[in-house]
């Protein structure tokens, strides 16, 4: 059986602009979870991954994050997560939801989309 293989993001052309649909992104590099136990570092790692994805999709053009849905495992971490997101993306519509995640060592996962222009 093949494993499930997931693209990290898909760029869809829509009326002259690109819509980047990112997959749910967590603090995973390669196939390994990084920054175990540190929610702040995990958020920063996820934001780095999403930024890299947007830059790749934009191909040298501009990329504007449209929204983020942020899944946080532990309610006690919500304040820290919100603080980091507000610092980086003060005007982006963002939802923070307390939810279980697919791996026990993941503390946060972010789903987002962006408008990208060449």
């Amino acid at each position: 059986m093949h494993p499930a293989w997931f693209s990290r993001g898909v760029r869809v052309e829509l009326d002259g602009e690109g819509l980047l649909l990112a997959g749910g992104t967590a603090s995973v590099v390669g196939s390994s979870v990084v920054h175990e136990g540190d929610v702040a570092e995990q958020v920063e790692q996820v934001l780095d991954l999403l930024d890299a994805l947007r830059r790749a999709a934009a191909g040298g053009g501009a990329a504007r994050c449209g929204y983020m849905v942020v899944y946080v495992r532990d309610r006690d971490d919500v304040g820290v997560v919100r603080g980091i997101l507000d610092a980086h993306f003060p005007t982006v519509p963002t939802l923070v939801i307390v939810a279980p995640l697919s791996r026990s060592d993941l503390l946060v996962e972010i789903d987002s989309a962006a408008i990208v222009t060449a």
């Binding site: 499930a4 869809v12 002259g16 697919s102």
Partner: protein, 212 residues
């Protein structure tokens, strides 16, 4: 410009409809511009939230993607609205935006409320297949899929998910997000077809081109 925008809304039970209207007003758009509504609903229950959402849209809500998870505030709902400045064409559980090959289609969430894990995946993907066929579109044009696992969730679901995904959508370029599995994952919403469910899979289906 694509004209695609987003707005968020958080509301207590009983105030959901008003909050959604406020969110749309805040974007200087109308309820008719909402192409998709994604929301996390707390302990008050998805059935009540759905009722309020339907009331907000005067009985004609957009495709909805509701999950029973906790808004950070712990109560009510936290909603994300996909807004389109152009015309949103709604037909049943599908909403379409854009023109020509760049159209996106959003499909209402579906679920598989009963049976073993394999049967539930079979039903979910069967519903997805049917929606695609009805729209005259190929599985390979699927670009985004949100999948939520129920209380039996966790990494253990991936082999079965992979089997169905690979068989049905081996050419799809989709991404999956997020995997809310593992222990403690809440049951499916009361609004799921057939009632309570242990696992379920609502999706968004934008597909950029026809017939491949």
């Amino acid at each position: 410009m694509t004209g695609l925008r987003w707005a968020t809304s958080e509301a207590e039970p009983g105030a959901i409809a008003a909050a959604l209207r406020d969110a749309v007003d805040g974007a200087s758009l109308a309820l008719e511009n909402v192409a998709l509504l994604q929301a996390a609903v707390g302990e008050e229950g998805i059935a009540a939230a759905r009722h309020e959402i339907a009331a907000a849209f005067e009985g004609e809500p957009p495709p909805c993607h509701l999950v029973r998870q906790s808004p950070a505030g712990g109560r009510g709902i936290a909603a994300l609205l996909w807004l389109y400045e152009g015309p949103v064409v709604r037909s049943g559980a599908v909403a379409s935006i854009g023109r020509g090959p760049g159209r996106l289609h959003f499909v209402d969430g579906v679920s598989a409320p009963t049976g073993d894990v394999g049967a539930q995946w079979e039903r979910c993907f069967g519903s997805l297949d049917a929606a695609l066929r009805e729209a005259g579109l190929a599985a390979s044009s699927l670009v985004k899929l949100w999948t939520y696992y129920g209380s039996a969730g966790g990494d253990g679901h991936f082999p079965e998910f992979s089997a169905y995904r690979n068989r049905r959508f081996s050419r799809a370029r989709f991404s999956i997000a997020p995997d809310s599995g593992a222990e403690g994952c809440p049951p499916a919403p009361a609004s799921a077809p057939g009632g309570e469910s242990r696992r379920w899979a609502p999706w968004l289906l934008p597909w950029p081109r026809r017939g491949r």
